[in-house]
């Protein structure tokens, strides 16, 4: 049955649902609110894929993977509230700093309650810093290159995490990362079409930043905390994906249809360089 096919569940469903919802929200929301609220499409696409693949997790959740679902729900809802009410830059800045710490606390509560060694505290601090850095870079990419650039970074990073998870012996985390990439891909596809036709850059939106970002950070955190076979060095290298906009800014050219068509592709290719390097490292560490 098609619904039971993992390729359908984690690939096509989030992609098509996110694309369709993005179009719907854009039409219903109008030119002002529509683009700002479109991020909710990626958020819903990912949660739907999660539910199809893993089922609705028990509440209260017990495992890190179950907690991931509620983390994304909460973060996405908070982002949506920001998008709906008009985005407060200072509030978002605070959320970007605080949110990765809260996500870590949520995911690693059991370990923290049992007591952690100094080395583990250093790891947690690094994870917090890395998460805040990733969210900040997504914001910068949106400011510099529009929502499409930030979405492409999220997609490439999610695919990188998928590869590292697969190399690290966790196929379900890998598939969830692919689902995230597909859901963000649905919205990015819409954004790409708008960019081609109208030459306007839509926003990334706080819903995508916190909903998608929480899924990305949550998956990375679960890999580091609970998947010893996953390469931590590869995950660290993957952070460079979030600097793709700095490299791409040097290559930007005109505003012709051709340059608009190629721009996002070149941007994705630049972001893919550190992702491929991270995958290579993960393969070296974990074996094929």
């Amino acid at each position: 049955m098609l619904l039971d096919d993992p390729v359908f569940q984690i690939g096509l469903v989030p992609l098509l649902v996110a694309f369709g919802l993005a179009a719907f929200i854009r039409i219903i929301g109008g030119p002002e609110r529509g683009p700002r609220l479109m991020g909710v499409a990626a958020f819903i696409g990912f949660l739907l894929a999660y539910t199809l693949f893993e089922g609705v997790p028990s509440f209260p959740p017990v495992t890190g993977k179950q907690k991931l679902f509620y983390l994304v729900v909460l973060a996405g809802a908070a982002g949506f509230a920001l998008d709906l009410t008009g985005r407060s830059a200072s509030l978002q800045r605070s959320m970007r700093m605080i949110f990765p710490g809260l996500a870590l606390l949520w995911l690693a509560w059991r370990q923290l309650a049992a007591g952690v060694a100094l080395a583990e505290l250093a790891t947690l601090a690094a994870l917090w810093g890395g998460g805040a850095l990733a969210l900040w870079r997504l914001e910068r990419a949106e400011t510099e290159g529009g929502g499409l650039s930030a979405a492409l970074m999220l997609i490439v990073a999610a695919l990188g995490i998928a590869g590292i998870a697969a190399m690290g012996s966790s196929l379900s985390l890998a598939l969830l990362a692919v689902a995230l990439a597909a859901a963000a891909g649905g919205v990015a596809l819409w954004g790409y079409g708008v960019w081609l036709v109208k030459a306007t850059r839509g926003p990334f939106g706080a819903t995508t930043q916190f909903g998608g970002g929480s899924a990305l950070l949550g998956l990375a955190y679960i890999l580091v905390l609970f998947t010893p076979q996953a390469s931590r060095a590869a995950l660290l290298l993957l952070l460079l994906v979030f600097f793709a906009d700095m490299a791409a800014s040097r290559l930007r050219s005109g505003n012709t249809l051709r340059s608009r068509a190629l721009g996002p592709i070149v941007f994705a290719a630049l972001a893919a360089v550190p992702a491929l390097a991270a995958l290579g490292l993960a393969t070296l560490v974990s074996g094929p």
Partner: protein, 196 residues
């Protein structure tokens, strides 16, 4: 990535009628070198994959005069899962299955022992796996109670049991690739305990 998979197991045992007469309720520590906790899981309908846990500990209380008054407790290190294939074992330790880094132990604790025959009985208890506790019933056969025959054991009293049971891994939130990789897990155990 290995497509084969999994799964859990549990417990330890005690029982039944027909044992040689000794003193009342005695505590026995499980001898891990002569005990096995084994699981079988269906692989895509083709066959059943066999695995076991290498690191576990526990004890049982056994009274030959009143087996129903006994009890069993076993703790298993989930990272010790062994299916004779390193890559698959890594996968089994991952969050897809036993999630050994987040949940390093699984446990069984008996709640009731029912004598069903001359050397058989049913142990009801609770399995805790992945932070979820569910009831399970194990059919147990009492094999032998006697002093160990080898001189280096100094005649320690040894009790031996065999058991069979099953559980659904999805009940514990372990849903990855179910039911293609069997949801129903058959569990076997062969247990020897040394009187403490």
């Amino acid at each position: 990535m290995q497509a084969k998979i999994l799964l859990p197991a549990i417990f330890g045992a005690a029982l039944v009628l027909g044992a040689p007469a000794t003193q009342a309720a005695e505590r026995y520590n499980i001898d891990p070198t002569h005990s096995n906790i084994i699981f079988l899981v269906e692989h895509l309908g083709f066959s059943r994959m066999v695995g076991q846990f290498q690191d576990f500990s526990g004890a049982f209380v056994f009274d030959t005069q009143d087996p129903g008054s006994g009890s069993v407790e076993v703790t298993i290190k989930t990272a010790s899962v062994d299916t004779d294939h390193d890559k698959r074992d890594d996968h089994l330790r991952s969050p897809d299955f036993f999630n050994a880094a987040e949940f390093p132990e699984m446990a069984f604790k008996s709640t009731n022992i029912e004598v069903t025959g001359d050397k058989t009985g049913k142990i009801t208890g609770e399995v805790t796996l992945l932070g979820v506790t569910k009831p399970i019933t194990i059919d147990v056969t009492f094999n032998k109670l006697a002093p160990h025959p080898l001189p280096q054991y100094n005649g320690v009293m040894v009790a031996g049991f065999s058991g069979r049971g099953s559980l659904k891994r999805s009940d514990f939130g372990m849903k990855t690739f179910a039911p293609a990789l069997g949801d129903e897990i058959e569990v076997w155990f062969e247990i020897e305990g040394h009187k403490s």
